[in-house]
């Protein structure tokens, strides 16, 4: 019992003022050492190379970028699943970076994570009740009948019948498993959930269910999300602000609609240009950026993007551009963002319209759900 009472006393301190963001990342650096199988010596992967951002209460900040840009590492550092090499993670004014063990427990409850593959993150030998019950017990939230009640509530919140508590992970579909992953994250009463590609492995119709569920839960509990995804259309639907990452650095951060309306960084433009839209009349009349993302073991000097950038000049090859405020709550890390040609819409900026009757038909799918649950 001592564990339970003690952890209860260690509720996160209340130092909230409007000026205090829920979470702040300050200059995070994460290096991984890669000992090559056949190579001598080690090489260092700079997964995060000085990343800073803030997340407000109830806000969704999206991290987007291609493989190897460091977005998943970011999610793991923020939740303290791995330790940063440098920099700090500040939760409600409290520096978590060097906390460990029992001191970290209350923050573990406050900062939760949902993974892309919920099957890999559920123990195949434990029922849903076992998985959730263990968490509730360890963190001293509930046990016995109270835990059972709480588990039923959690399952209801994610749209599953309470009877599913007795089932094993293999008995669920991909979408249901992701719902269980969400219930697991919610079980400890978090303030922030890191969603690491939560819908990337799901079919379109199931993806829509999970996206709707995440938005409903956020509205009910006033949660903040750090939403990590490579899918810009999903991100556009979910996020209040978007941070675009490239090789361990944020290159641009801006409110969602502003970013889509007028992307400042050439890499952001490149990403928006290549979104495949569900509209055959708007095929990409776009410039597709050449080349691959360079290896994070040996990123290019200066601006990492200069090797693929149509606007690069000598300065970009030698001097690292700082992420600087440019007004309207936006920041961009480009030496030339206000010199280069204005962005020409590729179509990604506008909403894809459907014929009005199709919209009416689609609303019937939502009504059907309401009738069923009502």
């Amino acid at each position: 019992m001592s564990v339970i009472s003690q952890s209860r006393q260690e509720a996160p301190p209340q130092v909230d003022t409007p000026a205090t963001p829920l979470l702040a990342a300050n200059g995070l650096v994460k290096h991984f050492r890669d000992r090559g199988m056949f190579k001598r010596g080690t090489s260092v992967v700079k997964a995060l190379d000085g990343v800073s951002f803030e997340i407000g209460w109830g806000e969704t900040l999206a991290l987007v970028g291609e493989s190897g840009c460091g977005k998943s590492t970011m999610g793991r550092v923020v939740t303290r699943l791995i330790d940063p090499t440098e920099g700090s993670v500040i939760y409600r004014g409290e520096d978590l970076t060097h906390l460990s063990g029992r001191k970290l427990l209350p923050y573990r409850r406050a900062l939760q994570i949902i993974f892309q593959d919920p099957y890999a993150s559920l123990n195949p030998r434990m029922t849903v009740a076992d998985v959730l019950g263990e968490l509730l017990y360890i963190h001293g939230i509930a046990s016995g009948a109270a835990a059972k009640q709480k588990i039923a509530e959690l399952l209801e919140m994610v749209g599953l019948p309470a009877s599913y508590a007795r089932r094993y992970p293999h008995e669920f579909s991909g979408g249901q498993r992701q719902r269980i992953g969400i219930a697991r994250a919610l079980s400890l009463g978090p303030r922030l959930i890191v969603c690491d590609e939560p819908v990337s492995a799901l079919d379109v119709s199931v993806q829509a269910q999970i996206v709707n569920l995440l938005k409903d839960i956020q509205a009910t509990l006033n949660l903040s999300y750090l939403f990590i995804s490579h899918d810009l259309m999903v991100v556009r639907h979910m996020a209040d602000r978007i941070a675009v990452m490239y090789l361990g650095r944020i290159v641009e951060i801006a409110p969602t609609e502003a970013l889509f309306a007028n992307p400042h960084h050439p890499y952001t433009r490149a990403l928006l240009n290549v979104i495949p839209l569900p509209d055959p009349t708007r095929r990409m009349a776009r410039k597709v950026v050449d080349g691959d993302v360079p290896s994070p073991i040996a990123p290019p000097p200066g601006c990492h993007f200069h090797t693929r950038c149509a606007f690069a000049v000598e300065r970009c090859r030698v001097e690292v551009p700082r992420l600087s405020p440019v007004g309207e709550g936006r920041k961009v890390a480009c030496h030339r963002w206000n010199e280069i040609a204005p962005y020409e819409s590729s179509g990604a900026l506008e909403t894809v319209a459907v014929r009005p009757y199709v919209g009416r038909l689609q609303e019937r799918f939502a009504e059907r759900k309401a009738n069923r649950s009502g």
């Binding site: 291609e66 379109v204 829509a208 259309m233 556009r236 495949p276 993302v293 009757y357 038909l361 019937r364």
Partner: protein, 330 residues
């Protein structure tokens, strides 16, 4: 579908069932479609809809009877591929029809260089000596825009990025100038900028060499980028088929309507995505009913008692929904 001068491939009433200890499992039911030379048909559908099995059946790559039964007709340049013996089919694969898969790393042999694998593909179908084959391999790597192709020829697959590997797979697929390329989720494992490069490449192959393309994807955006016609599959059946603009702008099957509504398309972030409640049915049960009936907001009694046949609703536009045209019930 549209009546092109002469389709390159005509699939008629393709039925596939898998057989195991528990019995026979229908996985594809009465699939029919045509692809004209130089055109692209997109097959779109979710996991388990039968889209990959359809492509494997065309290529005769399914497990042989008694483990699977394939019925119907696959007419390629007038010949029924389902009637060919194994040797004739092998000669056709790679030279006339070839295939690109989702995961290029598992399709390439890690123990051989890019050049070895490309030259093997060439020499299976063409009598060329080592030198000529190497020259041709180099030429094809240039065609798929692989940088520094001379060096790449002697490298192993693990040295290449995912996008480069997929380019190598495409190079192998087009090495013998096939008339039809089947691409099964070719960009799904790739980053978005690389996906766009690969789509550009496939489009260029179509334009420059008149290759016909059968593109399989779960992503409406990818299909919208490249296809001329589209077939929507659900629970083993093609439920809607037509020119891409018609299907995307005036869909005539409720499943298509729901899927398009579930796809984020920008606009109001407060709005909800359409979500199709329920799950894909057991394929055995759909022999006697519309497979989508249990999830459909527009269901009527006959939908649950009879399989709904494909019928024509507009020029070149077919649907398996008895309530079409849907504009009337909106």
């Amino acid at each position: 579908m549209r009546a092109p001068a002469q389709p390159l491939i005509s699939v008629r009433d393709l039925n596939v069932e898998f057989v195991n200890d528990e019995g026979r499992h229908p996985v594809v039911r009465n699939a029919s479609f045509d692809i004209a030379p130089g055109k692209c048909l997109g097959i779109v559908g979710e996991s388990g809809s039968g889209k990959s099995v359809t492509s494997l059946a065309i290529m005769s790559l399914l497990p042989p009877p008694p483990y699977s039964n394939v019925k119907g007709k696959v007419l390629f340049e007038g010949r029924d591929l389902l009637g060919l013996d194994a040797d004739d089919m092998r000669k056709l694969r790679g030279s006339h029809i070839s295939m690109i898969f989702q995961e290029p790393m598992t399709s390439l042999n890690p123990a051989f260089t890019i050049g070895d694998q490309l030259m093997e593909a060439i020499r299976v179908h063409e009598k060329l000596n080592e030198r000529a084959a190497r020259a041709k391999a180099l030429e094809i790597l240039r065609e798929v825009r692989i940088p520094a192709p001379e060096r790449r020829l002697d490298e192993y697959p693990h040295r290449l990025s995912g996008g480069m590997r997929q380019r190598v797979m495409i190079a192998i697929a087009i090495a013998c100038r096939p008339r039809l390329v089947i691409a099964d989720e070719p960009t799904t494992a790739l980053d978005v900028t690389i996906q766009a490069q690969i789509l550009d490449l496939l489009r260029r192959l179509q334009e420059e060499y008149g290759v016909a393309l059968l593109m399989i994807s779960h992503n409406f955006g990818v299909i919208a980028e490249i296809a001329d016609d589209v077939a929507v599959m659900y629970a083993g059946r093609i439920v809607e088929r037509g020119p891409i603009r018609k299907v995307f702008h005036s869909p005539e099957h409720p499943y298509t309507v729901g899927l398009l509504g579930a796809t984020p398309r920008g606009g109001d972030r407060k709005s909800r995505l359409a979500s199709i409640e329920g799950n894909v049915p057991d394929l055995k049960t759909v022999l006697t009913r519309c497979g989508f009936a249990a999830r459909c907001p527009f269901v009527e009694d006959p939908c649950t008692t009879h399989e709904q046949p494909m019928r024509n609703v507009a020029e070149a536009h077919d649907t398996a929904c008895r309530r079409a045209p849907l504009e009337q019930i909106a």
